[in-house]
């Protein structure tokens, strides 16, 4: 009934007369101090292939934005692969309902908040503040509000199914951003539920050009590479350390947040590997506790994810959920745009570009 809901929403948006001021852009990555050290046996290992060993559950969220002068709609879709009766489950869908954050003038937000037909909307941050014209936030913050909640909801559904195994998440297992401790708490609650149900959570991080975990002295020494650490990122280190041809696993490394603040205890230790597939790089990470629990199997998980890489240079299960999540948000955005356009509500040029991008994903090209 999303189409119905979009029609109702568009009626409210048509009444918004006040233009929203632009949001600030996202701050630089707020990485906490951490230490990275190679674990015993850490090296560059060639992945030779092997059998199709694992049948993990995989979770990924996709985001798209549709905006005009008087509103911004942040559409989030989450796909879960391998959960149960169907190959792929979704939010919105069988796993959950709230998928759209709305930034608009306060009076509009208050109106839609009261409308029972719009129960899929998020109009406030998790700290209770409205996403109105005065919102002290970035686009990413708003997306994170919906995305982290939806993904965590999905992870809890995985935990509820039980049975144990692997739960592969597209992205890091948790954010290391101080300002979003509340989101970290939501995510870590879900991860703990997963672990309680016998699952090991595994993160696959595709965007690593801003990450500098391998730029630590201990990591560079492990690979015996010399890099000017002022101009360093993980992709660069991997490109130097791994041969150009073939699939390579680099790790494991243990990451520990260091500091005296008690809040550091919220960030449990992680173990990660970098994967180089003919020069294309992604990171596989898991909690240190899961790494210990899985023993030698942990690295096999990373190797298997590397071996199943697809034509888009990402592991198979991540590609499956990513493709489904993107198609889902594409469909939602197309439907939302149709509802908004039918009320003659103006859109930004970027939103029109986003619409064409959604059309491409919709038809699968």
């Amino acid at each position: 009934m999303a189409v119905d809901g979009f029609r109702v929403l568009a009626e409210y948006l048509a009444s918004a007369k006040r233009a929203l001021k632009p949001l600030r852009t996202r701050e630089a990555e707020d990485s906490r101090p951490y230490a990275v050290r190679p674990l015993e046996g850490a090296l560059v290992r060639k992945v030779e292939g092997g059998a199709w060993r694992f049948a993990p559950v995989a979770v990924d969220g996709s985001t798209r934005k549709l905006a005009g002068p008087h509103f911004s709609a942040y559409v989030v879709g989450v796909a879960v692969y391998g959960l149960g009766e169907k190959a792929v489950d979704f939010i919105p869908g069988g796993l959950g309902r709230r998928f759209l954050a709305l930034r608009a003038p306060r009076e509009v937000l208050m109106q839609v908040e009261r409308d029972g037909r719009l129960d899929f909307l998020v109009v406030k941050r998790s700290d209770g503040a409205y996403l109105d014209e005065d919102c002290d936030c970035t686009d990413e913050d708003i997306f994170d509000e919906v995305r982290v909640s939806a993904e965590s909801e999905a992870l809890i559904r995985v935990a509820e199914r039980g049975g144990g195994g692997l739960a592969v998440v597209d992205g890091p297992i948790y954010f290391d951003h101080w300002a979003k401790t509340h989101l970290l708490k939501i995510r870590m609650t879900a991860v703990e539920r997963l672990r309680g149900a016998g699952f090991a959570a595994v993160g696959v991080v595709k965007r690593v050009d801003k990450s500098q975990k391998l730029c630590k002295r201990e990591a560079l020494d492990a690979f015996s590479v010399e890099v000017d650490r002022r101009y360093c990122n993980d992709a660069y280190v991997v490109s130097i350390a791994a041969p150009k041809s073939g699939i390579y696993l680099m790790g494991p490394f243990r990451l520990t947040y260091v500091g005296r603040d008690i809040r550091y205890y919220a960030f449990p230790d992680k173990v990660f590997w970098y994967v180089s597939v003919y020069g294309s790089v992604f990171r596989v990470e898991m909690l240190y506790d899961d790494f210990r629990r899985l023993g030698g199997e942990a690295e096999e998980v990373a190797a298997w994810l590397a071996w199943t890489v697809t034509s888009r240079w990402i592991p198979y299960v991540i590609d499956v959920v990513d493709a489904h999540a993107r198609r889902l948000t594409a469909n939602l955005l197309i439907a939302l745009r149709h509802a908004v356009k039918s009320r003659d509500i103006p859109l930004t040029y970027d939103s029109e570009l986003e619409f064409f991008d959604a059309l491409r994903d919709h038809v699968g090209v």
Partner: protein, 621 residues
């Protein structure tokens, strides 16, 4: 209409489907595809979730129902089933690993349905129409009950039982019948050896006896199949075996010669110890004794181990008419009415060119005159006639010969003489059993043709004697069919309603070959018989069921004049010959007993069915 109201409406439709017992709900019309109902294309795609798909499967050819949002309920046939792995849906290709991801199989099955007929969901007693109303995505899809399928296909409720509806590789509990009126427009059954033609024909014959009042079923029985319809099958069937069978047994001179000693032995035994057949001087009594002996020999050969409990023999004009015997075959007691069949040359010679297809057209026209000129007053029996023919043939150049007088070309003389020799060799004329060697003491048991008016129930023409002699078999068949036609014609002429007569002709190409297929066959004779039976038979309530494994060898007229075609397992070229090439996919590798009936009588034009198991004893079982 709000989304909520729409949801309520669809839910109400789903409830109606379940409450009215239309069938089990399986899924929805796919929202991701165009559901098209138009003049050029009728195609509805259905999504069935993986668990339902695993549980109930999906099969090409099966029937599904659709209850639409506009309030129609439709029946459709599955024409395609699509299965896709999630990797295909997401356009994913692994670079190195071979995908063995079983989770990816849990995608909905997509079933493509061709809508056939529809009715309003609130008026299910309607006469189904072709599909005129649109099918909306998310319409409710269900697996229909047998009653719903029968109703929506408009299957006839009465008529000859062909079998049970066959869809998606399964037999459904829906009877497929061919109405009596369609039988009079004639039926052609094609199928390769072992496809189940004979079982179908025998079951149809049985059904005709049980369902059509006063029906006479005449079966041309080259292999002895119909003779077993009085015996029970391995497992009980829908129909009981017949309690009575009439067997029309051509008695040839060869048959008499072969069984001479046996006839004498049996007749003597039946007379008691004190007398032999030689002691009997009365021709009527001789005919009765020989008739009884023939009946015993027939039972011995046809129903091994069976015995005759008692028998009554009927003669007329000192000639054997019939033997009616109570037969016990392993506890199964039935009545056998045996009609020994032979012809007297003197009585039938003018008609011979009409049922012996050996003579050219010119010779056929002159045949009667030729014979009468040749034999004159001596036209008593075939032996005398043959002497005259041979004598005349030996002097064919003599001035004043019959050939010269009638201005016959040498090839026509040859045709006539050759034809007469063939007729003679058949041994079908002037057949009798002579008891004594001494001519002065000879007593004859003679045979005749039956009264075709008195044939009733199942009548098997026992042609086993002619398995290797198609020409003779054809001559017998043409004669019997012509006489039967004349009997029905007479009924019609008298103003009486003709009794329904169904003629079952297995291996029809044997009797009705394609023009030119056999060099000695006059196609005019063949086609005259076919024309008479089919075109003129209709109003005389005569229906013919032809069957063949080789329609290429079958006369074109049979194919043209049969309005119902039933195809069983066949090669595509065979199906093409009977204009059923579109069913090659279903029939090329079909199981035995599976058939498609194509007839004007069916709303859907064609119906697939599976024959019932043999309803009586069957040779192949």
């Amino acid at each position: 209409m709000s989304g909520f109201e729409l949801k309520q409406r669809v839910e109400a439709i789903r409830q109606k489907v379940e409450e009215r017992g239309l069938g089990e709900v399986l899924g929805r019309v796919s929202p991701g595809e165009v559901a098209s109902v138009g003049a050029d294309e009728r195609r509805v795609v259905i999504d069935v979730d993986f668990d339902t798909y695993l549980r109930v499967g999906a099969r090409i050819g099966e029937y599904l129902g659709v209850a639409t949002i506009l309030g129609s309920v439709m029946l459709g046939r599955v024409v395609e089933v699509r299965r896709r792995h999630v990797a295909h849906i997401a356009h994913i290709q692994t670079l190195y690993a071979t995908v063995e991801d079983l989770e990816g199989l849990k995608t909905p099955a997509q079933i493509v349905l061709e809508p056939l007929t529809e009715c309003p969901i609130d008026a299910l007693d309607c006469e189904p129409t072709p599909v005129y109303t649109p099918v909306d995505p998310l319409s409710v899809v269900f697996r229909p009950s047998p009653e719903f399928i029968a109703k929506m296909l408009g299957l006839p409720r009465e008529g000859i039982l062909l079998g049970r509806l066959y869809a998606g590789g399964f037999e459904l509990s829906v009877e497929v019948r061919l109405p009596e009126r369609a039988m009079y427009q004639h039926v052609l059954v094609v199928g390769t050896t072992g496809a189940g033609k004979t079982v179908l024909l025998k079951n149809m014959a049985l059904s005709a006896i049980y369902t059509v009042r006063n029906a006479t079923v005449l079966a041309l029985d080259l292999q002895g199949d119909y003779l077993l319809t009085v015996l029970p099958p391995e497992a009980p069937g829908v129909y009981q075996p017949l309690d009575q069978i009439t067997v029309l047994m051509p008695v040839t001179r060869h048959l008499i010669d072969r069984h001479r000693e046996n006839i004498q032995r049996i007749a003597t035994r039946n007379l008691g110890k004190e007398y032999t057949l030689l002691d009997v001087t009365d021709e009527r009594e001789t005919a009765e004794l020989v008739g009884r002996a023939l009946a015993e020999l027939f039972v011995e050969e046809t129903y091994p181990g069976a015995k005759i409990l008692d028998a009554e023999t009927k003669t007329e004009d000192k000639r054997l008419v019939e033997v009616v015997a109570k037969v016990d075959a392993g506890g199964r007691v039935f009545t056998l009415r045996l009609l020994p069949w032979a012809m007297r040359f003197r009585e039938v010679y003018p008609e011979i060119p009409r049922f012996f297809p050996f003579f050219s057209e010119r010779v056929s026209m002159l045949f009667r005159r030729l014979l009468e000129k040749l034999a004159g007053k001596d036209l008593q029996d075939i032996d005398a006639v043959m002497k005259m023919v041979e004598s005349e043939a030996a002097e064919d150049n003599k001035r004043g010969s019959v050939w010269k007088e009638l201005r016959l070309h040498k090839s026509q003389v040859d045709n006539f003489v050759r034809g007469m020799n063939m007729i003679y060799e058949t041994g079908l004329f002037d057949v009798s059993y002579a008891v004594a060697e001494n001519k002065s003491q000879r007593v004859f048991a003679a045979f005749r043709e039956p009264d075709y008016m008195e044939l009733e129930g199942l009548v098997a023409v026992d042609l086993r004697e002619f398995r290797e002699a198609p020409s003779v078999a054809s001559a017998v068949v043409y004669r019997v069919l012509s006489r039967l036609f004349e009997a029905r014609d007479e009924e019609l002429a008298r103003g009486a309603a003709p009794s329904p007569t169904f003629i079952f002709i297995d291996e029809a190409h044997y009797y009705f070959p394609q023009a030119g297929a056999r060099e000695d066959f006059n196609k005019e004779v063949v086609e005259t018989v076919v024309n008479k039976l089919t075109r003129l038979g209709r109003v005389r309530k005569m229906g013919v069921v032809f069957a063949t494994h080789s329609p290429a060898d079958l006369n074109d007229l049979v194919i043209q004049l049969t309005n119902t075609k039933i195809a069983m397992r066949s090669e595509p070229k065979v199906l093409e010959r009977v204009d059923m090439a579109e069913y090659a996919g279903e029939l090329a590798y079909a199981q035995s007993g599976v058939a498609v009936a194509k007839s004007f009588i069916y709303r859907s034009h064609a119906v697939a069915f599976k024959t019932l198991p043999p309803q009586t004893r069957h040779r192949g079982v």
